[in-house]
């Protein structure tokens, strides 16, 4: 019996090692560094600075606001799209087409958008064809949010699509047999049953959106400053790893908060 148990433990070892090396150790290091100042002295100053400085708090508010908008727009676009795709005949092909852009490097996609949105870009040429004067599109809030939403949409569609295809047809038939309208079926049956998919979509999209420093520079022209910009600056320019780590800890904590808010209560559902 004891033999068997230790044998079983052997199977766990790689996973435990993986967790320890690539999950627990980095997080522990970030937390450890966040308690040191630029002279490598132990201090709580970084946290005090973060929560006392108007700059960092505004930046946090900005980050949350933009991440919220990006997530909202991705849901608004993704849900109807997932719904339509799940009804199509060749739905596997369509969902493949949705995933396809994720195979392309983020930087390449950003540069493609620069080509589209620039002053002499494709969108402005199209506008001038219809007699609309050229617009400044790069370096605006709108274009930043739209490009970020475009990049996040595949990650939102997939979990929603999966939860949609999980719904058995018998529920939908029962709903229409019992006299529900299409709208009622959608709001009372489909949306509640796909809530887990929406929630995991939010988890995947919201957190990375908090720190899209590369997009905020390339598309937003650094007029939108999020926490990611500050982390980059602290690690690369001022070499104040303590403050950079403190912001990292704040991001990790906010991730935990989002996870708690969107966690599905498994017990109730499965029972």
């Amino acid at each position: 019996m004891a033999m068997k148990k230790s044998y079983k433990g052997l199977f766990y070892a790689p996973y435990l090692l993986w967790l320890a090396l690539f999950v627990i150790a980095p997080v522990a290091l970030i937390i450890y560094y966040s308690f040191f100042d630029i002279h490598h002295q132990f201090t709580l100053r970084n946290y005090q600075d973060f929560f006392e400085s108007g700059t960092y708090l505004t930046m946090t508010a900005n980050s949350v606001l933009y991440a919220f908008l990006i997530t909202l727009i991705s849901i608004l676009i993704s849900y109807p799209m997932a719904l339509v795709i799940s009804r199509l005949q060749h739905r596997n092909l369509w969902i493949l087409l949705v995933i396809l852009p994720t195979w392309i490097n983020l930087l390449l996609k950003a540069y493609a958008f620069i080509g589209l949105l620039s002053r002499d870009g494709l969108v402005n040429s199209l506008f001038s064809f219809f007699g609309i004067p050229a617009q400044q599109m790069l370096f605006t809030d709108t274009s930043f949010i739209l490009v970020a939403a475009y990049i996040q949409i595949p990650f939102m569609i997939l979990p929603i699509y999966n939860s949609l295809t999980d719904i058995s047809d018998s529920y939908l038939r029962a709903s229409s047999d019992l006299g529900a309208t299409k709208w009622q079926t959608l709001t009372k049956i489909i949306i509640p049953m796909t809530m887990p998919g929406i929630k995991s979509g939010i988890q995947i999209v919201f957190i990375p959106s908090l720190s899209l420093f590369m997009l905020s520079r390339l598309i937003g022209g650094n007029k939108i400053i999020t926490l990611g910009t500050a982390v980059e600056e602290h690690f690369l320019t001022t070499m104040n790893w303590g403050m950079g780590s403190t912001i990292g800890v704040v991001l990790i904590v906010s991730m935990v908060v989002v996870m708690l808010f969107t966690s599905t209560k498994r017990k109730g559902r499965r029972a």
């Binding site: 700059t55 620069i114 002053r119 520079r217 022209g221 600056e233 104040n240």
Partner: protein, 356 residues
Amino acid sequence: MKKFVITMITILLLCAGLGYGSHELTKSTGDSGDKVLNLYNWGDYIDPALLTKFQKETGYHVNVETFDSNEAMYTKIKQGGTSYDLTVPSDYMVQKMKADHMLIPLDKSKLTGMNNYGSAFLNKSFDPNNRYSIPYFWGTLGIIYNDQDVKPGTLTHWNQLWNPKYKDGIMLIDSARDIMGFSLISLNKSVNTTNSADLLAARNKLFQLSPNVKAVVADEIKMYMAEGEAPVAVDWSGEASEMMSQNSHLHYVVPTEGSNMWFDNLVIPKTAKHFKAIYAFLNFMNQPKNAAQNAAYIGYSTPNNQALKLLPKSVRDDQQFYPPQTVLKRLQVYSNLSPEKVQEYNDLYLEFKMHH
């Protein structure tokens, strides 16, 4: 699933095969052994033809590794485990590395051709008497404008950037020291000031610049300017010369009231091992014809006056990149600031970027 596994294994084997092949290739060109020089340089910052020539003349093979910021280079050398023989920090970073005991002084008796350098480029505040460093390239911070939007000769002062006619028309290079720097110069202050009141004033002045700022970007600024996305930009002379080679409507000007002057310098870090190769290389680069070839390839300003004489007249007389003495006198070199002051510059700069 089986197909997937087979594909993955094929790709991995291919990579391993190619990796082995390239390892063999570099070995046969003398990567290992004593006849090497490990150069840690900025990306694309030396004419590759010079490296071949150097190997032919001296037999030393140069391994080049690259970095993209002074801070990245500093961190990598400081963390150890490297064996770089030469690296190319900018002015303030020479000072910082020196203060942190990361440099080996130059043995002047082994150096030839030091008198090729112009006196304006030697004995600077960051390294008195050039004990540790030899200037490699130098340049300035200035204004780039597109002559389709801005009349040539009308934009010659930092203060003109605040003019409302450039509304939403200026691109800035994403660098705290440089942006705070030109604001300080426009207020008649030193770019190395540690006076908090001056720094606050510089930030407040930048706040007023906000309506004119179209974007604060990094390397992409070259592409944007070459494509005519903005009429005006603030950037370094080296970047400007690259933009101008892509778009003939662009011009570069160093404001006459002064600006920053930067130097990239060859230094020997503490990790160096191949000293014969190091001095062979330094002396090779000191030779006017080699320095001139490098300058022609990179397009930056060379501090080697004998090399400058070998460059075409159009380059020599180009006041954009070789400003006249009157302007040269007013240029200020950055000195290394304490970590607290660096933080202060960056915090104020961040506040400017967040200001709308």
